[in-house]
Every structure is written in C-alpha cells, then in structure tokens.
C-alpha cells in the first residue's frame, strides 16, 4: 500500500502566469504548503480573498514530525473546516506515566475541563493533518473560491518594494515572475525568504541529539504517554513513547551531544533499546527514523512591510510541549482577519503591526516553556541534574513534587495581555475571559459556543440587550444573544459572568476577547472596535 506521504497531492501543472507577457499580480501569495501555509490560504479563501500557494514540493511532509495537536488549534481547524477529520482520526488520551530509572514514579490524568467541544489534545501524524488541509483546499475550489495550490514551484528570489513583492519562481518548465500585494512566508524553519531578505533568526541551540522513530507495531500498550528519565535502556538520557493512529507509535530517545549520528540510526543499534523499552517479543517495523537537534529561536519582528512571516519561518521551538504547528495555526488565525480588513480598506495597514505585538509575545511564551522543559529533560549543569533527580525522587512519594516534573508542558494559547488592540475591561467578570484572551468554549443549548464565534466582529450578550447588528465605519458587528440559562451546566456563567448578572463581550474575528462591559453602550462598543482595528 502506498502511504499518503508518497503520493503527490498537488503535482506541478503549468499555470497561465507562466505565459503572461508581464508578471501577473495577486492580492496574496502564500509561500509554503506546510500546515501553516495551508491554514493561511484556507482562511483567506474563506474570507473571499484570492490566494496562490507556492511550494517546491508536491507531497505532505516527510519524516517524523508533529503528532500532538492541542485544543486551541483544533478549534481553529474547526473554523477552517477540518476539525472533525482531525478528531475522528486522532487518538485522544488523558493518562500519562513518568518513570525514573527502573521505577514508575507517578501517573497523572490530565482531567480536561468539562464543557468543551474539543479534547485537551489529540495525537495524529502531521501527514494526515496536511492531507485534510489539502482536501479542504480542494473543497473550497469546488465551491468556486479563488485558491490555487502550485506544486513544483520553488521561489528563488523575493524582492519587496513599497507597493508589492516580486517573486522569481523556478519550475520544471523554467522560471517565471509574479507579483504579490502581500507575501505570507510560511517556508519553514530554514525559511529561504528570511535568508533572501537578510533577516535574523536568533536563539538557542540545545546541545543534544534525539532519535525520533515512528514504528508500526501491534501492541496492547494502553493509550497513555510514557516518559522515562534515565531509564536502564537509555542510561543517563530520556525516552518517550506515545501512540498515534494506525498502530503507529512515536518513540523519542535522547542520545546526548557527542555521538556518531549515522551509527545511531543503524537499526541494529536501536533494536536492543526498543526491545528493552517495548518488551522482548515486540514486533515492530520502522516508518521513520531520524535524528534531530532542537533549537528555540525567533525573528526579531515577524512583519517586514509587505512580507509577513508565520509558523516555523518566524519562530522555532523544541518539540517538548508540542508548540510548533500549534502556535503556527495561532499565527495565521491572528493574521488573516487583520490582512482582510487592510485589503478591504476598512482598517489601516498599521493593524498588521499588532500581529507582531501579539505573536512575538506568544512566541516568547512558547520559547520560554519549551526551553524550561528542555532544561529539565536534559539538565545543562551538575546542579540542575541534582535538582532534577531530587524532584523525580520526591515525586514518587510526595504530591507536591509532581507539578515540578517537566517532561513538556502542553501548548496553551497565549492571552494577549497588554496588546494595543485590547479595549475596555469591566471589573468583576472572570479573569479567564479578559480582553486579549481566547474564547473559552461552553455548551449552549445543544450547540457549542466556539462554533458560533469567529469570522467577524461579534457582540456576545449574556442576559443583556443590544442591537442585532452594528456598523462601525464599514466594519460590521453582529450580535450573538445568549442567556446563562442556555447552559444548565453553569459553564457559560462561570466562564463569562462570574457573579455578575449580565455581560457584553466584543469578540474579534479570531475568537479572542477585544473588550467587555456589564451592559451595552453604543459609543463604548464603537470605540472598542476602533481600538481593535488600530484606528484609535
């Protein structure tokens, strides 16, 4: 059976642009058809902005890559029309076990909060995610949306000026030129765009190697995450076992810094470790074996005039905590509605600077969390190893030490505290729904709040009056009228009212809170819309 990652999904086809007399100009070009580029393009197409995606390749991603997808990106994927495919195919898990040396020191249950449509996260091979995104592109095309995916199109030059960006694209038929009003660079951690524009990518390389293997095996292991510190089969290092769909298991083995990378990849060398880990009788086959070093770094700014960077091109983290693709989706979620307003002329171009404010802030949070996990997993000094081992020893007997064990903190969305787009806050409403926070889901009368949000500005009224529609200088605001009674479980009231009897929330198109009040006031709402669109 040929695997999805061997099938060309968007093979090269000659485009009319290649025969044009003068370079054809497009409103938006997305560079890179990885998860982040595809998400950007789908979001644009759903907003009726024509978009062309260029990728030098024509298949889903190669090798072991993302497997953990957190709730917030799943909510974003819902808005993009791929959430169900992801969750139907993905593996949901809540239990984890932590081993130290030969002992199990504790197990944990994530106990996700009730009253959310989506689980805390799922495990799914990145190639499935990319396949679903490509399927969604095809469905949008069938609906007549202007979204084009050009495989075998390698960008070799990027020349921005004040009004557009000129691209040189290499193809099997030779090169051609095209112009873009806006270029979204989603060309991955090695971003050629970044290099071509001479931009920086600063950060920290962790002096360590990890063998990442995906093995196919029929095994009765439970659907749990198993993490070993200093196990007998990988002395002085760590190991991870995690389940994916189709009987595929992700195995991470830390190798240390001074190693012979080729020798370590030898199946003969890996076999004894795997047997010790999985049991003598384990019968497995490799899907992928790769060796990675990890780094945490980001660009100083993500927006450079008409070129905007997103995903790994803008920031890179170590995979402990699953923040790469997850945060990339939050980048495009943040960017696309802003770009739409700027293209439509309803907001100034400076609105895009807030993409920098908000997503650089989020990238720093991700880098901080992922560096802390990496430092716990691979202690960098004698003292840090002594404390790490002390924490693990104590965790076996004492509950207090368990929260200190850091084998990766799961990706949570950033709350944009201090963002210039944040408007009024009202005292007494719950902190989790403050301006800058992503919406918390809640069940509402047989539906989910999260499914009723997004795509435009909305006024969510809870037991409060407001007009059904507003227009703030060309920006429409629609009302979503709710009552605490819509949710007998009380989650809606707990997450949005606290002890207050009523509330009015202005929600951004990316489902983040812009401002909130106890009651509707037309002038206050208009002012908050202006602030949220950089017009204040």
């Amino acid at each position: 059976m040929t695997k999805i990652f061997e099938t060309p999904l968007y093979p090269y086809q000659r485009s009319a642009d290649q025969d044009a007399e003068t370079p054809v100009r497009h409103p938006v070009v997305v560079l890179g058809a990885g998860p982040v580029g595809l998400a950007a393009a789908i979001d644009l197409a759903q907003a009726d902005i024509p978009v062309v995606v260029l990728d030098e390749n024509d298949k889903v991603s190669w090798g072991s890559r993302a497997i953990c997808f957190a709730k917030r990106p799943l909510e974003i994927l819902d808005r993009l029309g791929c959430g169900d495919e992801m969750v139907d195919k993905g593996v949901v898990w809540n239990l984890g076990k932590v081993f130290f040396d030969e002992r199990k020191v504790y197990d944990f249950n994530l106990l996700p909060e009730d009253g959310h449509k989506r689980p805390a996260f799922i495990n799914l091979q990145q190639y499935y995610l990319e396949q679903y995104l490509v399927d969604r592109v095809r469905a949008l095309q069938a609906d007549g949306k202007a979204i084009e995916l050009r495989g075998g199109n390698k960008v070799t030059a990027v020349k921005p000026d004040d009004t557009s960006v000129r691209l040189t694209v290499e193809t099997p038929d030779g090169p051609y030129l095209m112009d873009a009003d806006w270029l979204i660079a989603c060309d991955g951690a090695g971003s050629p765009t970044r290099t071509m524009l001479g931009l920086d990518f600063q950060g920290r390389v962790f002096e360590d190697n990890f063998l990442i293997a995906d093995v196919v095996m029929k095994a009765d292991f439970p659907t749990e995450r198993w993490f070993w510190f200093d196990p007998p089969f990988n002395k002085g290092q760590s190991a991870l076992l995690h389940k994916q769909p189709d009987d595929v298991w992700r195995i991470d083995l830390q190798l240390g810094w001074d190693i012979d990378r080729e020798a370590e990849k030898d199946p003969e060398k890996i076999a004894p470790k795997l047997k010790a880990m999985l049991g003598e009788e384990a019968d497995y086959e490799f899907e992928w074996v790769s060796i990675y070093t990890f780094q945490c770094r980001r660009m100083e700014k993500f927006r450079h005039g008409r070129v905007v960077f997103a995903g790994d091109a803008a920031h890179q983290v170590s995979p402990f905590g699953a923040r790469g693709a997850n945060s990339g989706f939050q980048d495009t979620d943040n960017l696309i509605w802003k770009l739409k307003l700027v293209i439509d002329g309803t907001a100034p171009d400076t609105l895009l600077d807030s993409y920098d404010d908000e997503r650089v802030y989020a990238a720093d949070e991700n880098i901080l969390n992922s560096s802390r996990s990496t430092d716990f997993i691979t202690p960098k000094s004698h003292a840090s190893r002594v404390f790490r081992d002390a924490v693990l020893d104590l965790a076996e007997h004492h509950a207090f030490a368990r929260p200190l064990v850091n084998s990766g903190r799961l990706s949570l969305p950033a709350i944009y505290d201090g963002s210039p787009l944040n408007g009024a806050d009202a005292t007494g409403l719950p902190a989790r729904a403050r301006p800058g926070a992503p919406a918390s889901d809640a069940p509402i009368g047989g539906d989910w709040l999260i499914d009723r949000l997004g795509g435009g500005f909305q006024l969510v009224t809870i037991d409060a009056q407001a007009p059904d529609t507003l227009d703030v200088d060309g920006i429409p605001v629609t009302r979503l009228a709710l009552s605490a009674k819509d949710d007998p479980s009380g989650a809606l009231a707990e997450r949005y009212l606290g002890s207050a009897p009523s509330a009015v929330y202005l929600m951004r198109p990316d489902q983040h809170v812009a401002a909130r009040w106890h009651a509707f006031d037309a002038d206050a709402v208009a002012a908050a819309v202006k602030t949220a669109t950089a017009q204040a």
Partner: protein, 69 residues
C-alpha cells in the same frame, strides 16, 4: 531605589535549641557519600521551599543564600 522586599522571610534567630537542630542536620548526612549528601540537600531544599510556598519569601531566601559578591 526601594529596599528589596523580603516577603515574610525571617533572618532573625527562629530555631529553638539551635545546637540540637544543627546536630540533627549533620546526623542526617552521616555516612553518606558526597553525592548522596548533595542529593539529600537538594530534596531538603525542595521540601522546605514547598512548605514556605510564598514566592517572594523563597526569592528573598535565595538572595540571602547567594555568595557575597
């Protein structure tokens, strides 16, 4: 410049029978290798820090413990 806050950290004598406490501390380390002693100290720091809980107080203690520069 404002004076550094010490939270509720007390640096005044606070242990009854100081000699008895000191002897107990050393007794705990008796017969341990250097490595095991170091591990014991690390566990002890974590247990006491958790008992204190208050981050300002712990930070003040860390500052007080740092070698003078």
């Amino acid at each position: 410049m404002t004076a550094p806050t010490h939270g509720t950290l007390t640096l005044e004598p606070n242990i009854k029978d100081p000699d008895g406490f000191y002897a107990e501390l050393l007794a705990a380390h008796e017969g341990l290798s250097r490595e095991d002693s170091e591990a014991l100290n690390a566990r002890l720091v974590l247990i006491l820090a958790n008992h204190v809980g208050d981050r300002d107080t712990i930070r003040a203690a860390l500052e007080a413990a740092l070698p003078e520069r």
